[in-house]
């Protein structure tokens, strides 16, 4: 078997790779292509026939999504919650990750090891108590309620990501600066944080995307229209008896735009940050 494979020339393997990549690529593009084209079709075209290109391109679905289905309001709500969560989580996590990787204090080892084990806790287990706690402290249908709920798993995750990144940075410059009289906090501010910008950007993008894309907390914690998240707003287009495919696809295009733009802008950061933080960490 092995010997048989070894006799196969390299060119055959290249062709095989090409075929595999093409097939997987088609499977990825297929739903996205139809999401994008359907957003520009009239209702009757969507339901009556299969067209690969919109026969009469229209913006009516976008108009519908924006004026009748409150997509701008949901997007604004989501942006507020996502940005706030990201800022708070990144600040808290960078400080914790710095302490857990650089400082020696009692309890450090347990906490450093425990960070990842928070993932052992099923999200569905947190669903009920989180709902009750948020209701009890009066934060249901508010931005702070959603921010607090989203922080729960983001903080350990972001701390873990930053710990991996900080470990990959040499401590020599820090030590040199401290021998020269720099305090811990000054060296954190002037040396460690500038050096870990790629890691911080990666972590921030992860958290922002997670909150922007979050669905379950948004579904149970923000049930009034004024504080609805875009994920819940869009899934509401889908009712069991009928659904509005056109506006849903238009809304989906709007909702995925910030995530995609952010990713294109930061692809280098994310890939290198992921490689050094999550992978080698």
């Amino acid at each position: 078997m092995s010997a048989y494979f070894d006799r196969v020339p390299d060119s055959v393997f290249r062709v095989f790779s090409f075929v595999v990549i093409t097939l997987l690529l088609l499977l990825i593009i297929f739903p996205l292509y139809f999401m994008a084209t359907t957003a520009f079709k009239f209702e009757r075209e969507i339901y009556s026939e299969l067209t690969w290109i919109p026969r009469e391109p229209t913006l009516i679905n976008f108009q519908n999504a924006i004026y009748n289905f409150h997509i701008p309001l949901y997007a604004r709500n989501t942006l507020i919650v996502a940005l706030s969560t990201t800022a708070i989580v990144v600040t808290i996590s960078v400080l914790a990750a710095y302490a857990l990787t650089r400082l020696r204090f009692p309890g450090r080892a347990i906490m450093a090891r425990g960070v990842l084990f928070v993932y052992l806790i099923p999200g569905s287990l947190m669903l009920i108590p989180m709902y009750l706690i948020i209701v009890k402290i009066g934060l249901k249908d508010t931005y702070p309620g959603l921010i607090v709920a989203n922080m729960s798993f983001s903080v350990p995750f972001c701390t873990w990501l930053m710990m991996g990144y900080l470990r990959s940075i040499s401590t020599e410059i820090e030590e040199a600066s401290m021998i020269d009289g720099c305090t811990r906090l000054l060296s954190l501010w002037h040396i460690v944080i500038p050096l870990s910008i790629p890691g911080i950007v990666t972590a921030a993008i992860f958290i922002f995307n997670n909150v922007w894309n979050e669905f379950i907390f948004a579904l149970i914690l923000a049930q009034d229209d004024a504080h609805r998240m875009i994920s819940v707003g869009l899934s509401n287009f889908y009712r069991s008896d009928y659904y509005m495919v056109g506006p849903m696809m238009a809304g989906s295009l709007i909702a995925m735009t910030p995530v995609v733009l952010l990713y294109i802008f930061s692809q280098r950061y994310v890939v290198s940050g992921l490689a050094s933080g999550a992978v080698k960490g």
Partner: protein
Amino acid sequence: MSQEIVSQPILARPANQKKRSLFAGDKVLGWILVTPALLVVLGMVGYPFVEAIRISFTDRMIGRGPGRWVGLANYEYILAWPEFSQMVVRTIIFALIAVFAKTVVGLILATALNQDFRGRNVLRGVFMLPWILPTYIIVLVWRWIFDGQTGLLNQILMSWGLIGENYPFLARTGSAIGLLLFVMVWKGYPFYALTFLAGMQTISSELYDAAKVDGAGRIARFRYITLPGLRQVMGVVILLSTIWTMNSLEIPLLLTGGGPSNDTEVFPLLTYHLAMQNFRLGEGAALPIMMLPIIALLVLGVAGAMDKEATQ
């Protein structure tokens, strides 16, 4: 001997001083820096966890006060439920199949992308789309494609003459399970491929050259260089993904909602249904607690099979 005793304090003093200046106040500063994160984890993960256990011993319902202590009644109710064991087996099998498929497709894609060709970076970016796009959008789009009345897949199959009438893909057990797994894998494998690819690129090409000189074939090189080099990466990815996949609520909730006739009802979904549709918080809380040992065992099994360093 005496020389050593005399010389020791002299040598030790500067070393100690250096240590003190480097790590002075570490204990206090360390705790100050960790406290905010610790408070979040204790308050928003630890406390709810304890609350979940407490609620699971009560008959609490939404909108009916704190509920009464009922002991193990909720657990007995769930255990006595005839479909419980089926649900457990289904959850585990779905997760194992999905993780296995994601690993295999991820490995194949990473190997294919780990060659030099033009446009590789663009391709890598496109392959990340399923991973970065919101899960709910992906599921809503696939759900429309698979829809039994106006779905795209039915339109395509009809226009090609492959089927005579609409097929309700999500309303038939076999196709519903298959498509649920398909969407889970579609969404998940790019993350595997990206991390495997990053891992492959850390493996020195000299190893491959040396192996080639020694006459190792393609399979042997993959088996004895690539796979061992990826052990740590694969360990982390598979460990995390097993937990994520087992706990995945969003995809089954939005794609099938547990149907047809509960054939895709996995445990996170049942918890959601018990709590948010039937308002039975006690039983809803008890269910994931009963699944904890299974999840922990699975995770330990995966972690144990991989390098211990991988969990660090």
